[in-house]
């Protein structure tokens, strides 16, 4: 019997127990009101989406190209470091997004937490659901609707920094010349989303 065997035995990992304890931690954290940010990822036709929620509602949706790890670090800094992977807490969100992608949902019915967006940007985001499913509006039109017709650039910034893309439909905001313009999820994702909505 060598000491090595002893230490191997002592350092053996038990993934099943780790998973079980993680689930138990999430459950007690929820019960004690200590889970400030719950998150999960969801595979979709536009790649893996990070979904995060507070007790107020969905607080963040992020594309893979936005770097999920970085997004979680920001949530930890800006909302609370009490962040845990808790897929069950996002069941409804995930289901509605899946329904959106299979074409059976045109409006999201979810509590939203806009705390990551402030001021004029938030005003802009609040107008976006007015652009119906399958339609588009120009940055200029959105600026006008938000009450600041000259703030076309600011509308672009509001869309580019939308903490809740997809659910708050900044993908429906396009250029005045009809071209799609940029998108937080990448131009390709914007094309997929608008294509999906016009096909339905």
């Amino acid at each position: 019997m060598s000491t090595d065997n002893l230490f191997t035995a002592l350092s053996e990992d038990d993934q099943e127990a780790n998973d079980r304890l993680h689930a138990r931690l999430v459950a007690t954290a929820v019960a004690e009101g200590l889970l400030d940010v719950a998150y999960r990822t969801l595979d979709t036709p536009v790649g893996s989406l990070l979904l995060a929620a507070t007790d107020r509602g969905l607080v963040r949706v992020a594309f893979a190209r936005q770097d999920h790890e970085e997004v979680l670090a920001r949530l930890s800094a800006e909302v609370s470091p009490r962040v845990l992977a808790a897929p069950d807490r996002l069941d409804t969100v995930a289901r509605q997004i899946e329904e959106y992608f299979d074409g059976s949902r045109t409006i999201f019915d979810l509590p939203l937490d806009f705390r990551l967006s402030r001021g004029f940007r938030r005003e802009v985001l609040a107008r976006l659901p007015d652009i119906g499913y399958g339609r588009t509006a120009s940055y200029a039109a959105v600026a006008k609707a938000a009450g600041s017709p000259k703030a076309v650039r600011a509308v672009g910034t509001a869309c580019a920094t939308n903490p809740l893309p997809l659910v708050v439909p900044c993908h429906r905001v396009v250029r005045s010349d009809g071209s799609l313009g940029a998108y937080v999820g990448g131009a390709e994702a914007k094309e997929v989303l608008l294509g999906l909505e016009t096909a339905a």
């Binding site: 019997m1 002893l6 230490f7 780790n18 993680h22 004690e32 970085e70 800094a77 470091p81 009490r82």
Partner: protein
């Protein structure tokens, strides 16, 4: 308002609600999920070595719940593993008090097998052997050999000297080798 127009240093801190965004990731705490992923398995092994496989899960759960509660106040760049093991140590002591009203370390193997019902706990012999150690030795073995802490840190947590911790770990390992060796060579 302030003499000489200079605000006291105490008030000189910029508004904490508008932190410099670009520097945030360096100075702020990681998402707690990362703490669980990085240190959860080690803390579980420590709890198992000190308490045995069944009670370990209660101690682990209490440790991480307490850690989650206190986490926002933890200073960034703290030694998180030492922090967690310190909490686990206290929780394990509580568990141990509940379990053993009169803690008399005997140094002999218990007659009956442990109620080691965990299907994934492959090495019942090892847990039996650990159970035979006095608590101080189990702690020293767990904190030094499993959590990888220096003896000075082990001493700080258990509240004795560095030498005493080193001795406790050495004695523990010696006994473990003997008992576990016998069990494993069957």
């Amino acid at each position: 308002m302030w003499p000489h127009g200079i605000r006291p240093k105490f008030f000189a801190r910029p508004d904490s609600r508008s932190p410099d965004r670009a520097r945030l990731p360096d100075v702020s705490l990681k998402p707690f999920e990362e703490i669980v992923a990085e240190h959860g398995p080690t803390v579980l092994r420590v709890c198992r070595a000190v308490l045995g496989p069944v009670e370990a899960e209660d101690a682990w759960s209490e440790t991480f719940l307490a850690a989650l509660r206190a986490y926002p106040d933890l200073r960034p760049n703290s030694n998180v593993e030492a922090w967690l093991v310190t909490i686990a140590h206290r929780k394990a002591i509580d568990q141990h008090r509940i379990r053993v009203r009169v803690p008399v370390p005997t140094g002999t193997l218990p007659e009956q097998p442990t109620d080691c019902a965990e299907p994934r706990m492959r090495d019942t012999d090892l847990w039996n052997a650990l159970r035979a150690l006095p608590l101080k030795q189990r702690q020293a073995v767990a904190y030094h050999h499993i959590a990888g802490m220096p003896y000075a840190e082990v001493a700080r947590i258990v509240g004795n000297s560095e030498d005493a911790s080193r001795r406790a770990a050495a004695d523990g390992i010696k006994t473990l080798r003997r008992i576990y060796g016998e069990g494993a060579s069957r």
